[in-house]
Symmetry: C2
């Protein structure tokens, strides 16, 4: 281990969200290494993070925790491309995907029995968690944890920042997140499609819709598609949204007669 | 006039929005009287406002300004029920309807030539303007103003509270408000129809949608229907919303193939 309370964390997938998490982890004194599809070595060297272009170097470097922060849609492929023998070394695997049942299944299948698995979803990002993480929800499911000290040390990263720690099954997370986060992203993308813009006479409510649009569009389209495709509850929410739109429309048409 | 800087304002339609405006007008020292379809005499007596059950007493009481705060849908009927001779007395008529072209037309038709007309839309309400009106948009159109001192005295009510004063034609207001306020109410009512509720894992974005739902539902369904029915630009926004939903849905379906 990197030292008392310190963890050596290896990040797979060094996109916007991993970069955002890494800043706080470094601030807390943890030691990071990273690997990713694209070459993030310049940014990593600026952040003081050794960057590996392949899994050989990455797994050879040795980590307490491997953190998976790939896009929802690419995670199966990325996991499939890691030589199985490499997966025997780290004691704990953690993912941060915005859906939870899918990575849970993938990781249980890919990982050796002896590896612990913690599925998490920090329910904030570079926008909503820019200034602080205090009070923001951090969902986790200790899917297979035997080394509780190590797992707790990882969770302490978020506890220390004041996150609201919520232990919840992956399925329950997906059920709720479809009704909340996926719906929010859908509304945000619809508003963007409508090209809504600030005007001199915005109401407070409209200002909130503008914020929803901007924060949804700050995330990648892959993230949005992943929220739909890999959450079995999302389809029903799309149907409910369409039905609700039709109900409101009929109210208008009926009263307008 | 009620005194230096003070106005005697007669309110027609003493619903939630008029009650909300009245509190600030009284605080500023203006003298109010009111009439309405329903009997609001108890509330009015608590607020120190003489309440008239019919137009005879209301117009006999004499006012500098008549403020129309009836629902969008009822305004034509209410104006039609006022004996024409009564409309010759007040110097200035002001309306606060959330659409502007429609009351402009109605009032120009109903009022005698000598009456001045100021069409306004305070773009906030009991929710968004609860704590203060500072910085909130106040849209106005001096449709027919000859007594500028009187009109300015009325506008000063909102200026004094720090509203952002925006002079804009009624048509321009309706064009923009369809894209902003009407859309916001529509989203709010759709979300209410979906029965969205707070959960233990709400994101910041979802919290904003909850606020949009609650503030939209705080207004009457008549107000919402009025925003659609009496704003010629609203229909196009409904169509754009439906189209945008379909576009986002196809994006999901296509990528999910
Ligand atoms: N953004 C947020 O607010 C937020 C919040 C909570 C959780 N999350 C989760 O965090 C994860 C990362 O999110 P993100 O915001 O950084 O953006 P993202 O678009 O969801 O994922 C970007 C990451 O996925 C990698 N990737 C994409 N396609 C790939 C492929 N075909 N093969 C290999 N790697 C691929 C990218 O690698 P390269 O950069 O090397 O190209 C990058 O590291 C996602 O699972 C997301 O659900 C995001
Ligand atoms: N609420 C807001 O935030 C807000 C903001 C800006 C502008 N406005 C505008 O202010 C006006 C009043 O709005 P509101 O929020 O108070 O609610 P509303 O439902 O739009 O209007 C209620 C008022 O309309 C009267 N009314 C309704 N139907 C009537 C009928 N058939 N005959 C006669 N009077 C009738 C009611 O009289 P009784 O109470 O006597 O039954 C009450 O005074 C509307 O034009 C609205 O667009 C509202």
């Amino acid at each position: 281990m990197a030292g008392a309370g310190r963890l050596k964390i290896g990040i797979i997938g060094f996109g916007p969200f991993a970069q955002f998490l890494a800043r706080t982890m470094i601030k807390q004194g943890h030691v990071l290494i990273a690997t990713s599809r694209s070459d993030h070595s310049l940014l990593c060297s600026q952040m003081g993070i050794p960057f590996f272009r392949d899994f050989d170097g990455f797994f050879a470097a040795g980590c307490d925790v491997v953190l998976i922060s790939t896009s929802i849609l690419s995670t199966a492929g990325v996991l499939g491309s890691i030589p199985t023998t490499y997966l025997h070394k780290p004691k704990l695997f953690v993912d941060v995907l915005s859906v939870k049942e899918q990575p849970r299944g993938l990781l249980l299948q890919a990982l050796p029995q002896e590896a612990d698995l913690l599925c998490t979803h920090p329910m904030f990002g570079p926008e909503s968690g820019r200034d602080a993480w205090f009070g923001l929800p951090f969902v986790f499911d200790k899917v297979r944890v035997r080394d509780h000290a190590l797992c707790d040390k990882y969770l302490a990263i978020f506890q220390a920042e004041g996150c609201r720690m919520i232990e919840m099954s992956c399925e329950e997370h997906d059920r709720i997140a479809a009704k909340t986060q996926f719906l929010t992203h859908t509304i945000g993308r619809i508003l963007d499609q409508m090209e809504i813009e600030s005007t001199p006479i915005d109401t407070k409510g409209f200002e909130k819709l503008l914020q929803v649009k901007y924060s949804s569009m700050a995330d990648s389209v892959d993230l949005y598609v992943g929220l739909f495709q890999q959450n079995k509850f999302a389809k029903e929410e799309m149907e409910k949204l369409e039905l609700a739109f039709q109900t409101v429309k009929s109210l208008l048409m009926q009263k307008a007669e």
